[in-house]
């Protein structure tokens, strides 16, 4: 079996929510051993409030798969000491608590450097670690608000606040970007032998994709407005309504060759080509009529058929899939094994997303189930911390390992 590239790297995780856990999860998939510190005093947002459900949450499974769970009570001095012992033996510490918590625990960057000069600390925060709003309390859905994603995700001329759905993509993109930063710091550490800390602001990472919008403001001195599904370089472009209840297929035609093939396909189905669609310029000018013409064809067909027919003439097309489509109709996911089934001890069959990338020599993988609360506490206390059974029992009674 090929060795995973981050084997031998130990990651400590002091996190809640999604963005921090995602950093560690991505590292775990490429071989890192991840020790997630948590406490029975309270399940985190994804384990939930009800202890009976701690080990049965699909969202928790997605975020924590492959990790170890070490229960420790950071409100006890002994608990904090044990975590410091673990930091001594680790390479990376991932944290995303509110600003000030790490400091309170004596795990601020200056403290950490004394404990272990090789440690790499990544602090995942909504707004970053500096500035007047560094201590802001934000969840994934808050992060898009300040940077204009929420505002811009709307129909042109909309009178509502947003059409943004309940998603939290900055959590996931922030997590992978953070993992990128950690591996860069590991590369750097090979040269210098020293660690460093990373200020990973979810807001800034999400915003980094909106650069052209900010340049509209910075260069053209104009406030960008919601554009809906507009494109100036492709026509037809956008989701077209298909047969069925609220079914859609995206079609995008980028150049003359594609247009000729696409129009010929529709002609095969008996549609007449309108001379006013002769050039890209004309098609943009008559966009509404063009969209009607395309819809008069798509509305007669199942979206999956539309996708196959249009891709069959080498033009971009994609079903607007719901999650059920992803399970039942996505031939690509089925062929590449993207949906991974796992058998959780308490929850039973669960499904999660595979690593969306393959490295030919050192492929990553989903390395295991999400840990039960405290599943590895004893093992870690014994092997890594070298505690005796008596000591572990005592710490358990003191609610330090709790």
């Amino acid at each position: 079996m090929s060795q995973l590239p981050l084997e031998g790297i130990r990651v400590m995780e002091l996190t809640t929510g999604a963005a921090g856990p995602t950093v560690a999860r991505v590292l775990c998939e490429f071989g890192a051993e991840v020790i997630r510190c948590e406490t029975r005093l309270r399940g985190d947002g994804h384990r939930g409030e009800d202890p009976k459900l701690w080990n049965k949450k699909p969202d928790f499974m997605k975020l924590q798969r492959g990790k170890k769970s070490f229960t420790v009570n950071m409100q006890t001095p002994r608990g904090r000491e044990l975590v410091k012992e673990l930091v001594k033996k680790s390479d990376v510490l991932v944290e995303n608590f509110g600003l000030g918590i790490l400091e309170k625990w004596g795990l601020d960057w200056p403290d950490l450097q004394l404990i272990n000069p090789r440690i790499i600390l990544i602090r995942v925060k909504g707004m970053g670690c500096t500035g007047p709003h560094a201590a802001d309390l934000t969840y994934g859905p808050n992060v898009g608000n300040t940077m204009a994603t929420t505002y811009l995700w709307n129909y042109p001329g909309a009178t509502t606040a947003t059409a943004e759905p309940r998603t939290q993509h900055p959590d996931f993109m922030g997590g992978v970007t953070g993992a990128f930063g950690v591996v860069l710091a590991l590369i750097q550490r090979k040269k210098t032998g020293r660690g460093q800390w990373i200020d990973s602001a979810q807001q800034e990472i999400g915003a980094s994709l909106l650069g052209p919008k900010y340049l509209e403001y910075n260069v053209n001195k104009r406030e960008p407005q919601p554009e809906g599904n507009r494109s100036l370089v492709a026509a037809p472009y956008g989701p077209y309504q298909c047969k069925g209840n609220d079914r859609w297929c995206v079609i995008a035609v980028y150049n003359e060759d594609e247009w000729q093939r696409f129009a010929a396909l529709l002609e095969k189905f008996g549609l007449k080509r309108d001379p006013k669609f002769a050039t890209h310029f004309q098609r943009m000018r008559h966009k509404e009529a063009l969209d009607k013409w395309v819809t008069s064809w798509t509305i007669q067909h199942d979206p999956h058929d539309v996708m196959e027919l249009v891709q069959g003439v080498d033009v971009c097309a994609a079903v607007v899939q719901d999650v059920e489509d992803q399970f039942k109709n996505d031939k690509q996911y089925a062929a590449t094994g993207f949906l991974v089934h796992m058998n959780e001890p308490e929850a039973g069959d669960m499904v999660t997303e595979n690593v969306p990338m393959r490295l030919s020599l050192t492929p990553g993988k989903v390395r295991g189930l999400a840990p039960l609360m405290g599943e590895h506490t004893h093992e870690i206390a014994k092997t890594l911390l070298g505690l005796s059974e008596d000591e572990i029992r005592k710490l358990d009674e003191e609610k330090a390992l709790y």
């Binding site: 505002y151 509502t160 900010y214 859609w248 031939k331 997303e353 050192t362």
Partner: protein
């Protein structure tokens, strides 16, 4: 002008990619790698993407191109011509990483697959960032960002009932695929430090898009529950929709009970929602008219900035729904110097988005604006490849550069 900085200083990268990998090559270039962007002689297609400075379409005035190509050097090269391909292979011998986005069948036709490129340099790392990856029945299908978002179950959720699904701003399927690509390159470079071996990285945008929507795949797999189209109600909170304020909107996101208590206290304990039964989210969900009504009435009396400042002071997750300009002008954005001063020979002086994430010991830097088309032909062809000026004239006449 400043110099490159960051942990990737000393690494050289060839950028053969299209829009799908723009954010990847930017992440790598901003962390110090010398990224050589190979453009067809007619210019990269992203030079034709709006918006443009002063709304004037021009290859050097695309603000889209300007954002995504900081720090890169540009050479023109038609890799589909035999001489162009030979030159590309020469360049492959001198670099650490190649990033490409060709559809797999086209890469084979052009003999520019991982196998072809690594044959001249076994330590080479090649990242192929493509719509569907290198295998499976859809591997040669075409997909843009919206197609990725559509297949990833994110488009379906966005928009109003009865209206078309609505694409998010910012090409986040491209962005996620690019981010995974950059992470994969970092992992492969780290591995190569010990093994000395290169490898092929195969990133599927389609699978990356499957990661960004949220927890829908695990939830459906476990419970069979499907989120409603156009639903903006979170299952984590009952207060998901933004509230109207005196000047726009703000979002209040409440999960733990302490935050609910702080919110009620902040609002002056209005009797309609102060009962202990309202501390349970399940109860609040059963009475949205009372709860949302009271909060809406409160928010309407304040500006979004007041709600943000005062709410955050009280440890409540309140954020304003900002425009791009409001984000740029935010105190936080300015305090963190997120935008840096740049000068571009056609655009002039402007402010450019900075580097993410921030490594405190070896930070990346924006030290050069996006290149002009073929700006670095001479220094790379005559300098790095040792060609003569006559060679350049001949290649130009042939349409290779």
């Amino acid at each position: 002008m400043a110099n490159p900085s960051g942990p990737l200083v000393g690494y050289r990268v060839l950028d053969l990619g299209g829009p799908l990998s723009l954010h990847c090559t930017k992440l790598i270039a901003d962390m110090g790698a010398d990224v050589i962007k190979i453009e067809p002689p007619s210019g990269d297609e992203s030079r034709r993407v709006p918006p443009f400075k002063d709304d004037t379409p021009h290859p050097e005035k695309s603000l889209y191109f300007l954002h995504f190509n900081t720090n890169k050097r540009s050479i023109t090269l038609d890799v589909e011509k035999p001489d162009g391909r030979e030159i590309l292979l020469e360049l492959c011998k001198k670099v650490d990483v190649v990033i490409e986005t060709q559809r797999p069948s086209r890469a084979q036709e052009l003999r520019l697959t991982y196998r072809d490129l690594s044959a001249v340099n076994p330590a080479l790392i090649v990242a192929s960032i493509t719509p569907f990856g290198q295998s499976g029945p859809w591997r040669d299908y075409k997909a843009n960002d919206m197609a990725g978002i559509a297949l990833g179950n994110l488009l379906y959720l966005a928009g109003e009932p009865g209206e078309p699904p609505l694409q998010p701003p910012g090409e986040i399927a491209y962005g996620m695929a690019s981010t995974y690509g950059a992470f994969g390159i970092a992992v492969a470079l780290y591995h190569r430090l010990e093994s000395g071996k290169g490898q092929h990285i195969d990133v599927s945008m389609h699978e990356c898009a499957g990661h960004i929507a949220g927890y829908f795949i695990p939830n459906f797999g476990y419970t069979g529950e499907k989120p409603a189209r156009a639903s903006r109600k979170g299952e984590e909170t009952d207060l998901y929709d933004p509230y109207k304020t005196k000047n726009g909107y703000a979002r209040i996101f409440i999960i733990p009970i302490e935050q609910w208590r702080r919110l009620v206290d902040w609002m002056g304990n209005p009797p309609s929602i102060s009962g202990p039964e309202f501390e349970k989210m399940a109860y609040r969900r059963k009475h949205p008219d009372i709860v949302v009504g009271a909060i809406a009435e409160f928010c309407a009396r304040h500006t979004k900035e007041e709600l943000y400042e005062q709410g955050q002071k009280r440890r409540i997750a309140v954020t304003p729904i900002n425009t791009a300009g409001e984000f740029i002008e935010m105190e936080q954005t300015k305090a963190r110097e997120l935008f840096v001063d740049m000068e571009h020979s056609v655009i002039g002086k402007y402010k450019q988005f900075g580097v993410v994430p921030r490594l405190m010991e070896t930070p990346g830097a924006i030290y050069r604006p996006a290149p002009l088309l073929g700006q670095h032909n001479k220094e790379i062809y005559t300098g790095d490849l040792g060609m003569s000026n006559d060679d350049l004239v001949a290649l130009r006449a042939e349409g290779v550069i």
